[in-house]
Symmetry: C2
Subunit: 508 residues, 2 copies
Amino acid sequence: MAAVYLAGVGMTKFGKSSQTLIGLLREAATRALSASPVQDVDALYIGAMNPEEFTGESNIAAQVADALGLSGLPALRVETASSAGAAALHTACQAVASGYYRHVLVLGGEKMTHLSTSAATRILAEVIERQERQCGATMPALAAMITERYRKRYRLSHSELERILSLVAMKNHLNGSHNPFAQFQKPITEETYLSSKLVSTPLRLYDCSPMTDGAAAVVVTAEKTDLFVSGIGQGTGPVGLRERESFTCFRATQAAAERAYQMAGISPKEIDFAEVHDAFTPFEIISTEDLGFFPAGKGWQAVEEGKTSMDGPLPINPSGGLKARGHPIGATGVAQIVEVALRMRGEGQVKLKREPKRALAQSTGGLGANNLVTILERSNGVQVENHWTPAPPRPRPKRKAKAAERAPSEEGKIETFTMLYVTPDGFLPPLALALIRDRSGQLIMAQGEDVSHLKIGREVYLRQLGGGYVFTVKSQLRTVREALKKLLRRVPSPADRNESKRGRKESP
Amino acid sequence: MAAVYLAGVGMTKFGKSSQTLIGLLREAATRALSASPVQDVDALYIGAMNPEEFTGESNIAAQVADALGLSGLPALRVETASSAGAAALHTACQAVASGYYRHVLVLGGEKMTHLSTSAATRILAEVIERQERQCGATMPALAAMITERYRKRYRLSHSELERILSLVAMKNHLNGSHNPFAQFQKPITEETYLSSKLVSTPLRLYDCSPMTDGAAAVVVTAEKTDLFVSGIGQGTGPVGLRERESFTCFRATQAAAERAYQMAGISPKEIDFAEVHDAFTPFEIISTEDLGFFPAGKGWQAVEEGKTSMDGPLPINPSGGLKARGHPIGATGVAQIVEVALRMRGEGQVKLKREPKRALAQSTGGLGANNLVTILERSNGVQVENHWTPAPPRPRPKRKAKAAERAPSEEGKIETFTMLYVTPDGFLPPLALALIRDRSGQLIMAQGEDVSHLKIGREVYLRQLGGGYVFTVKSQLRTVREALKKLLRRVPSPADRNESKRGRKESP
């Protein structure tokens, strides 16, 4: 009885649009409703990250109801940074499962391309932890630092990493070339990838999702349709990179996936294809590991072996993903559901080799800090049970006070780093950024005085400058000298010995 | 089984605070959890209107989870303009009723006082429809125009209105004087009220809720406690004043109340006291009518007769309301629930004369565009049934395309007006603002060239200037001359008669 089904879905073409945000949302809603057996919805749930700063408009939920000629109906906005659309979907599913509403229209949208890249980047950077943001860290910079760490941890050479990332970009652009809703509908070659500019080492332009306008909409309902929402899960992780235990996975995705699989009563093996939040190409790889599709550190191999291609056993991002379909922030989480539904229904131009039974969508908020997983299944012939029961008790995070900020020690070593070429206003490129682990084990984001000799594990001096921190790489010569000096201090000099002997003699 | 109960509640003192928004939310959460039989919550649902622009922080949900040491748990933000806190509560109730979560911590908060009044006013004004905003309309200006219309419709003299508004302000400040969480804890006299400056005629400073910092938190749970959520309802209305059928009521409140009463299975008569969104004193009066406590146009009489005072039959805003408790936007909807729970449990310093069984909280988003109603009841001895069933089908708003903007005609008449003394940046005070109904029946917000002769029903000339419209009141002499001229045109002149006679003769 409490199952939640998916009725009509629809989206705008993603890309640069002359429409307003409200206009885009109206277009997507009209498409979803006209494709829906359910026309009269009870409420509107809208995902949008930051319409206030992107468009200067607030009160978006009432405005959308107005624009759809549905003023009077309950309407609200849900926000979890870049996964806002997925969060709107999940709350709407809860509302339908509770019995309070029978049919909810879920919308997601964002309008960004009318702003300059630096203005949009500034707004997007607000999701970043303050200390990291103050150093000039942007989303691509932080993603790059995670990528460098992944490369190091799984022992990939620079050229191996480059080739793997290019394979992800090429796969998603190839997939996007068949998708009429995609922002980019052209395949790219390895040469195109390699000749694209470096945004933040090792990430190039073709590793990063673009600025996009767009909207998407789906109707969730208590009335039986061909598809149902069999699992939903959400998890958070620390906002700051420097608060994390691991840089090569997203705990938030792992927690979200665990709950969604548990609710659906399935294992990752039973997923036929997935839409994954590839805001950056390496994040697609990490996410396929977090979702349990591949073991940790093996996601890159799956790409290399073509496992995630359209003709592989587990197609990832048949739509082209954020990379090629585009990433109008609040729209993305809903667009993934639209894309999954189209594939499962065999509609649209993108076709899968085999008829899928189950698919998954994964959405990421901020730098992997607020992630959601949704599992959709065919309901044909499937006995849909009540999945809306609480998860069995499991260890919950114990509330603990956040450690107070301490001044870092004056020395430390590089945990990960990047050279940022597309810098925020007020920062000259190239900007060397590194996460430094100080002597007490605390992590600090700092700007480099040197732009060479950057390497994970390298020793640095650390000092405060203005509101932030600056690091200087100890030269290798200097490091050797210091190590020798330290050794020297351990070996007592003959003079010292004589001193201490004399001392002993003189004592009574 | 699906009933939703209220466990611990807590809030910060409202007022000017040196804490950050996150700090305020943490304080409120800690209080609610420490007062709660349920300590381990499954998720965080947060109401905040615009932390991005008020504090420069985005990604608030993950940040709050971090700050509470609960990183890992699902966390999301809900927004419906100034009713965001109530919307977070309602979605959390739906999540618990669905069975997906057992316990949800609901938070609401906003940090505003660190900004200048003009900066904060600009952010708050983003909830206003664009054409109205472009003329310089602020929230107090629009509230003032509604008030003037109410006065005219219910035949109150200027001095009668002034006295009634002062009674609301004095009542709420008296109530606030007993509330340790209130921003203002001193009663005010009629003299204080009357000597306060005019913000926007007829509204004075003491008619408007203040800028406030603060946060509030409640735990909603599937486990039985002494209080349960027996009814929730939400409704929207047109964002623009000029799109509305009525200026003297809020359809959004009426729709929200209807659903909440229906769900609780009660009538307005069964409510023992209520917290009502008195962002402006006249809105308290209008809301008590919309909620069905008093007939339309009789709310002012109830105030006069003391019916809404602490010793009256239906105390309204025992906490002091937004007026005296303060209005940290996103916090208010949750704070109302905290206040209601404290009164129902007989906790805190504010005491009711009689032990209440049922209470109601009403929250307003924007200018009455997104409103929510919550009903709380004692569960002691009450058989709590499953209320979470969809509302029976009723006429839904039919989707209709919004009428395209037409250029207004050159003449019209004043539907309502105000003189705004606290103007937004770029507008010189005093600013005459009026809603003009043009000859085709369309409503247009316009600035007045004259600041005198303003009166509902008066004829004006209307012309476009820059991006907006300007009106000029036709002088009474001119209006009389024009009326006479019109009459004159209806009376054929002797010459005309001769002409026509001659004409007739000449025709074959």
